[in-house]
Symmetry: D2
Subunit: 188 residues, 4 copies
């Protein structure tokens, strides 16, 4: 999906190239349940729900504006498989929910708690994918997933630049470098 497909407000939206890679690394094709933590505009949740109609998507977002945006985008694309929860992760989820994949897009101060909670929720072999622009949080996450025994750790730094007009010519306008971590809960 293109970024212009989404209703956005002042909430920063994951850029489409970053979203494409992140969703790809989540391996959602045969997944049943996907949790999007700190959903922001919800673009990851929405594209996941739209691309995989049989997938159950749970988007968790605590910010008022962002929460509303996810709901607006959910409506725009008429997605029945996306549930939006207004809360500050980690939270206790109803029922006996297990996740095949979890995405961390807006992790703040509770990084370790969220990683532990993700490990609890993930099925064996389940995928955990996270995006960072802050190097401190990136580095902390990398340390934590190694320490906590996640497997198949893959770390990418992505520098995207887009061709834009400038005067009578065109130049490559750079986006912020993004660190993408993906890993799996091991099969014990």
């Amino acid at each position: 999906m293109r970024n212009k497909d989404f209703i956005t407000g002042k909430v920063p939206i994951t850029k489409e190239e970053v979203r494409a890679i992140s969703i790809n690394k989540l391996d959602l094709l045969n997944a049943k349940t996907f949790i999007d933590v700190g959903a922001g505009t919800g673009s990851v949740s929405i594209e996941a729900g739209y691309s995989y109609p049989n997938l159950k998507v749970i988007a968790i977002e605590r910010n008022d504006d962002a929460y509303e945006l996810v709901n607006k985008n959910k409506e725009k694309f008429n997605l029945k498989n996306v549930e939006v929860i207004k809360a500050y992760a980690p939270i206790k989820l109803d029922g006996d929910i297990k996740a095949d994949a979890i995405f961390l897009g807006g992790t703040g101060k509770k990084l370790e708690e969220i990683i532990d909670w993700s490990k609890e929720l993930l099925v064996p072999g389940g995928r955990l994918v996270a995006n960072f622009i802050i190097i401190d949080t990136f580095y902390e996450m990398l340390r934590l997933i190694k320490e906590k025994g996640f497997k198949e750790i893959d770390v990418t730094v992505l520098n995207v630049a887009k061709l834009e007009k400038l005067g009578t010519g065109e130049y490559f306008k750079p986006h912020n470098p993004i660190y993408i971590i993906s890993c799996e809960k091991g099969v014990e």
Copy 2:
């Protein structure tokens, strides 16, 4: 899909991050027919065919080794919806084929012919996506699609680096910068 999922030989394989973005830009979700020109190892064809079981994929590849690899990967993933044609594009396709999306991954000297042929084959609004590492070919393609009236031109340069071990530490090993062009055949 991860790069390690594919059978590869000496044929260079599109890196998984580049493939994820390229497939995303092809908008295959509701597409019927997709043509992959210069399929290489076929990773784009295979991932497209695997991710979208209702999509008809036509992979065109003239190189012997590459042709065999696409077939091996097709077998590995047991894909009935991928047809592999050993030929040097542009070629005349049987029947009255129209494409919703075309990917150029291995365009060589016949760039303008292939673009004209793509425009013929594409349905109105159909997507043309191309990857380049050679700057000459990238610029030439950009010039040609503008001249030939393609719409929604979007140009990305992608610098991916992957964390790898070096001695007792880790460093970001860079991949070659890739230029990704996507555009649409206009609706007349």
Copy 3:
């Protein structure tokens, strides 16, 4: 020199990392005369004049604000060896001036004329260095210097990002990618 050392206004200043590389590629250590075309804030002229007191620096700048800035910076660093000319290059220079090195930082529409004029002015083996963010102009320059027989062509694309505060953490804020071309007038 650090960027904060310079008086700047609304005129864009060459970033210090780009300036360091460009001046390095100009090989000014044993040069007598250096011409800076489209001097902008004059940071390249000023750093060159400051670093090499025996070098004669000629800065050509047509923009009013920029012209004034070069002069202000010249004064700030008390540089007697920097001459600032308010003009639109190429111009006829007084006397029998030959240049050991020429820098193009703000080339606009007269690219080919400026390259020809540079070739005239340069001593055999003299260095021509140029910075671009516009890809069209970069590519045109590359084509022209090949066509006109410049030697030792070296092309760098430079992606610089600087660590900056963001909330309670730090992220790498990217600068625009810069194309740096350097080459030499051959010795006939």
Copy 4:
């Protein structure tokens, strides 16, 4: 100086763009003494000594092959102002040496000791510049210089790619991303 100017062996050489920026950040113009720790091929020492004939350069290198290379390059450029010491930093230097600038190009396991030793040796306002490709060491250095009260901390990540021939075209071949840290010993 160009990389081809140096005698190199199997010892990895700092790329010329990285060297230009690093030397620039060392502010050697009015410096008296510069120490290059882990000199490698010595390209930083040699270019510093060559560019600033009045500068005293002390290159410390423990590796046999690298030590010999620094000496060979010193001879090639006939530099009387470069002293090469075969040792594993930190070491006690003769006399009452104070440094205006210190460069860390090959810091291994003794990072904290070397930073402490650098702080001892530097004059107030003296410059400490370091290059890293290993992210662990980069982060550790950043943490340590903050902790130890260094000032004017400036952190750059540099992605350089060079245009090279590929088949009948040209592509940008990427170098490893380099983290460049520069800072100053505060004036107490």
